[in-house]
Amino acid sequence: MSTISTSPRRSPLQGSLKERRLPRWTPVATVAGAVALAVVLGVVFDITSHLQWGLMAAIFFVAGQYLLARQVEGPRQAKNGLVSSLVWVAFLLALLPLFGLLYYTISKGASVINGTFLTHSMNLISPNQVGGGLYHALIATLEQVGIATLVATPLGVLTAVYLVEYGNGGPLAKAVSFFVDVMTGVPSIVAGLFILTFWIVILNQPYTGFAGSLALMILMLPVVVRSTEEMLKLVPNELREASLALGVPKWLTILRVVLPTAIGGITTGVMLAIARIIGETAPILMLVFGTDVINTNPFKDPQSSLPLYVYQQYAAGTDASQARAWGAALVLIALVMLLNLVARGIARWKAPKASR
């Protein structure tokens, strides 16, 4: 026989459900206090690195929140507060690189972006001259990524349809699934090497934008397959059965019921895959070769590409060329953002229409 001992507790006060709470503005005050303390310590001890100032402020904030809550609200709330403030700090730390990157790229790249930059190539411009532009690289990137997308999307979607709708977990489906997993892990330089050996050395084809597209396609394919597969698995089986029970053949059921239901997610997956390949440099360097002039034909002669352009301009090392590198980087980021916005738009427009 044991009795449950009830230890006296600070809260709830006298059996009431009310608890002593810190005022709502406490976190703001703690942040201010932590920052002030960090600045004072930084100045007093002559710490030059602002990174260290920030880290000190973060630690003071977390500790301060915990101790305050422990004093006023009790241990349980203090632990709750500790975890909350850790989550906040982690969130801010995760945002830091993102905003830092955007900030640097914009501050260094925005100044060179103008009409000339967007509509001219680097033809006859030497690295230390200002002027010139990325038109040839932009066009080439759009073409190379466009071709890769046009090939990889139908291939990938059909593969996913096979895996989900026809494979039934059989040996072929398992094998395909395994190789897709392996492909997901292929480094871009290996994809480039493969196309270099197969397309350029063995088949004796020239360096062209298309050769680059082939490597990009290899990189894109597994991403499209995986994301489409997940989306198709999310389509309720009841919808397939409803359609089959109407006497609709299986292929038509997939085409008109299953794929439209999943189209939003599939589009998002394709866009993510594009975002993955649009910044690839290694295979482009090996297969497209690079050029300073405008070549709009991806099937003949070398082309450039945005990541390659960034690399070359940065490597040239002059002030003018490095400014161009940042400008091109900014254009590349803007392009990816634009694609993401388009994908969201399509996903929202095509998503199954719920109750309204």
Binding site: L239, L244, V248, S355
Partner: protein, 258 residues
């Protein structure tokens, strides 16, 4: 239009597991036949063998004969897609196509089977929605998504979708189990009207519902979990509910079961 179904010696399997065993029965045309029995005794499985939906499940197969008038549905050269056009199905949970409007949902069976004539489709939509007692509620919002209707309306939409392709037989697997009493009543009334035209088979867990809507009732049972389900008896509904010939049926109906 309505046709008779004659089942003899039917076994249905999921892989190596036999879910129903040796079922023989006749489903009369222009009548309602109810299937009752405890959960897991194979009512849904058997129902789905009647329009070849059973084989949609990977690894599932069927042995035996299902005659629709004079044609064996499992005979050589029979196209399961054509069978499903002739024998429609309504599922337990309402499942309108989420990407389609009310009108497109009802027209789906026709459109996906290649009927292009717009006038024909529109007429079929109106006729089917009226047939499903839904026309008055949705006629002003035919272009709204089907998923925006209430549960009971969605189920009637699914019935409209099933009857739009003008099947001979309509199979319903617990069509009211996800619905409130009012919607259930609406569907039961509808079943009473539909049997003028169609042969109807309905699975139900609700004994009163079986008694209210059906002309004949079949009782299924299984001897133990993991054993195949069997048909215990099938007879006129009044007989099953007043004076069944098998003790197990009486036990089940009077709630003295398990």
């Amino acid at each position: 239009m309505a046709k008779r179904i004659d089942v003899s010696g039917l076994n249905a399997y999921y892989g190596s597991f036999r879910a129903v065993e040796d079922i023989s029965m006749t489903v009369e045309p222009r009548s309602v036949t109810a299937f009752i029995g405890p959960s897991g005794c194979g009512k849904s499985t058997f129902l789905r063998t009647l329009n070849r939906m059973h084989e949609v499940v990977p690894g599932a197969r069927v042995e035996g004969k299902v005659m629709l008038d004079n044609e064996d549905l499992y005979g050589n050269g029979i196209d399961p897609v054509a069978v499903r056009r002739t024998i429609g199905m309504v599922f337990q949970r309402p499942n309108p196509f989420p990407t389609m409007s009310i009108k497109e949902n009802v027209a789906a069976g026709l459109k996906l089977n290649g009927v292009r004539n717009k006038k024909l489709v529109d007429e079929a939509v109106e006729r089917s929605l009226k047939g499903a007692n839904l026309w008055n509620e949705v006629k002003d919002r035919l272009d709204r998504p089907g998923a925006g209707l209430s549960g009971g309306q969605q189920q009637r939409l699914c019935i409209a979708r099933a009857i739009a392709v003008e099947p001979q037989v309509l199979l319903m697997d617990e069509p009211c189990s996800a619905l409130d009493p009012i919607s259930t009543l609406a569907i039961e009334d509808l079943i009473g009207e539909l049997k003028e035209q169609f042969t109807i088979v309905i699975v139900t867990h609700n004994m009163q519902q079986a008694a209210r809507v059906s002309d004949r009732t079949a009782f299924f049972n299984l001897s133990a979990v993991g054993q195949p389900g069997r048909l215990i008896e099938i007879d006129a509904t009044e007989k099953i509910f007043s004076n069944p010939s098998v003790q197990a049926t009486e036990d089940y109906i009077s709630g003295r079961f398990g």
